[in-house]
């Protein structure tokens, strides 16, 4: 069971990401996941020591500590220096994405993203870090 930390200040956006990542479809196509929710940058910093996490997904535009600052913090921490990191931006936030990638994020998603985009981005990163080199793009034979 992989642990994913989702940092996002919107309740329903978190619920949505959880629903996608913890779904049987995601589990079948990639790996089973357990989502841990953080509602702010500070909340994330409280939860990080309780890791390790196999993937961190964070929104950029949050109040107080924004996602970029959190990314910076994560990449400077011993524990999560190499944890796969996905940043979420607005559609016109190219500058923010640039900075995020420069800080060491592995991938980005722009809102609004589809279920497929979310699944693929996260699933791919989760599998890669597990040492599974090729990722599955087809459902296993005889699947739903």
């Amino acid at each position: 069971m992989r642990r994913v930390l989702v940092v996002e200040d919107s309740v329903s956006a978190r619920a949505y990401v959880r629903a996608v990542l913890e779904s049987p479809e995601f589990s079948a196509a990639y790996v089973p996941c357990e989502v841990v929710e953080a509602h702010s940058g500070f909340d994330a910093m409280r939860l990080l020591p309780r890791g390790p996490y196999d993937l961190i997904v964070t929104d950029i535009n949050m109040a107080d500590i924004n996602g970029l600052e959190l990314a910076h913090f994560i990449r400077n921490s011993e524990r999560h220096r190499t944890t796969p990191l996905v940043i979420i931006s607005t559609l016109r936030g190219e500058l923010d994405v640039e900075r995020g990638m420069a800080l060491g994020a592995d991938a980005y998603l722009a809102k609004p993203f589809t279920r497929e985009e979310l699944s693929e981005t996260c699933g791919r990163l989760l599998l890669l870090t597990a040492g599974v080199v090729e990722h599955r793009s087809d459902p296993p034979a005889g699947g739903p």
């Binding site: 200040d9 919107s10 309740v11 329903s12 956006a13 619920a15 949505y16 959880r18 629903a19 996608v20 913890e22 779904s23 479809e25 079948a28 196509a29 940058g41 500070f42 910093m45 409280r46 990080l48 020591p49 950029i60 535009n61 109040a63 107080d64 500590i65 924004n66 970029l68 600052e69 959190l70 990314a71 910076h72 913090f73 400077n76 921490s77 011993e78 524990r79 607005t90 559609l91 016109r92 936030g93 500058l95 923010d96 900075r99 420069a102 800080l103 809102k111 609004p112 993203f113 279920r115 459902p139 699947g143 739903p144």
Partner: protein
Amino acid sequence: MAESGGGRGDGGDKARDEFLSEAQELVDGLGRDLLHLEEGLKRGRLDAELINDIFRAVHTLKGLSGLFGATRMAGLSHELEDVLDDLRLGRIELTSAVLDLLFQAVALYARILASEGGNGVDPAVEVEQLLVALGQFSQRRAGSAAGVVSQYELDPGLLGVLTEYEEHRLRTNIQQGQGLYRIRVRFSLATIDSALDDLKAKARPHGEIITYLPTGTGADIDTIELEILIASRASVEVLRGAITGSDVRIDEVRRRTGSSGPPDLRVSLQPATVAQPIVPPAGEDPSLPPHEAAKVPTQGPPPPGPPSLLPSLPLPGGAGPVLGPPEMSLRSVSQTVRVDIRKLDRLMTVVGELAIVRTAISNLTDLVRRRGIDGRELAIELARLNRTFDRHLSQMQSGILEVRMVPLGQAFDKLARVVRQISREHGKEVNLVVTGAETEIDKLIVEELSDPLMHMIRNAIDHGTEPREERRAVGKPPVGTIALNAFQKGNQVVIEVEDDGRGMDPVVLLEAAVRRGVVTREEAKELAPHEVLALVFRAGFTTKKVATDLSGRGVGLDVAKTNIGKIGGVVDITSEVGIGTKMTITLPITLAIINVLLVEIGARLFAVPLASVKEAIALDESQVRTVDSREVLTVRGASLPICRLARLFGIRGHARERQRAFVVVAEAGTRSLGFVVDELVGQQDIVIKALGKSLKSVRGFAGATELGDQRVALVIDVAALIEEVLLPAETRFLASAAEGARN
């Protein structure tokens, strides 16, 4: 692999409910913020933080609606976000035209949410029109160089962790000559939320916080050190004095070059002050007729779209009076309540107490089984446990009721927006003054109240408030005032809607009522003045010769009265010509549990809500007179009409031979009626449940309650019975009195 949308099934439905709930909150907050923004603008202040909050709210709404497939909302949010982004990054200016579009957007959001929740039609056309208007404002201009920032001794990596918005704020502040300071604080991660709020509160009066940077490696899992960048005109000494704490260090960020002091400011950017009463909304300069206002030239972007967008949208048919958008309900889409977690903690404590009682009972049962504890001892123990249990159960009941309570301000907030919209539609300037917004009442009641209050306010503005010139002519201030007052009175909550307009003339009202067929000319003659005023609550009533929007169509006040009645409330009205009108709503605080007086009528039990009971007295038949086929009891020298419920309900038979009966004196608004019952049984808290639709036609009962061992007692609807019994009688009584006087 089966294709399914965003988390279908149980998880998906729950997520969607959360979406509607969160979206509702965001839209409500948006409305409030816009009003605050407008208020600030009128005082010449542009609140950057508010604009950013509004931007973030729309941004979140966009993300949400995209995720949940609410395409209409997503599309609207997308355009809106662009305009707001341009606004907050200083690319376009906030003019009244733009502000109007923002208000329209909020109204449309509410309607979209309602249609998503299954209530109302998708406002596709209006959204399209608004999108077109918004599109004309959005500008894309390259951001200016970051050169200004590099003049300061800031960590070169700083820019790399600032979002575009934060960078813009930093630049703007520097350009305006604010000083930059670095606040280093250490927080305990457990308490950081409240500690940070404290710090923000202390810092806000002195400047704008740009960003928070976590320093350190996070190796220590209990504390975190933050570096807070703040822009301020104050000196470092002032800041150090204001923001105190053992782990706080404040330093100035020096400029690299030896430059001169800050240039003069043209605009001061102060964050808004906290929590004021609902801001008075107002339209454009009222000396211009509404549709002209759009053409007033503003600096910056080209004038907005066709005037038909402001202030109201024309009917698709084209002809006829200009109407506002179709009347929508102010009801929330979601049924959720935000709860103070302390209320829940208290409830959990009571649950703990109940668990203890449960253990005691279990032990007792054991004892009985093992030792055969004697009857008397057992009875004493059980009685003690019963009392304890009862006490805790009551606490739990109150606790849960408290959770359902929300401040009336929730409904009042939405009304402020409505007031703004209505006053623009009618070209009248109106001030909304609110007191008692913190008065709490059951959430369901608040929901039911929103629409009736809206109708009453609409009536007060449309009919009640005179146009500017007329007001000036009689020496009134040009801006009308609508006062919304709420306060608790014992077991009830009173809400007053008062205007300082032209008041209601009973003569004019009566004429209109007769003309509209609401009363016949004969009936009209018998009405007392306060009853004439109450005619406005009858269906089909309007004093306008031509229907102007919904105020004139006889829809509104009658529905308002019915809805208020449904939640157990009553409406009264008083008015003085030339001075104003006041409508008073009296409501029970909570729907669910009420305190009742149990009475026996013909061996059956009924419940009378104590909130409506003034007193209960023994019936002295010798003091009963019959006046024109109505029985009247003399009580302390005054006349009280009475009603023998056994007769009214057609209940025969008595429990035992009756020597005496009792009179429960009930009140509804200004009227009293004595209900004659066989026996007073006692006072009790009951949970009132609604009667099914199948019994809709039966008058006089507000619901029923289970009394234990499956017995059910019907709860009497005092207001309905009083109206049923007294209304026709009053007419006849007055008629015969008038008749008597004439002879």
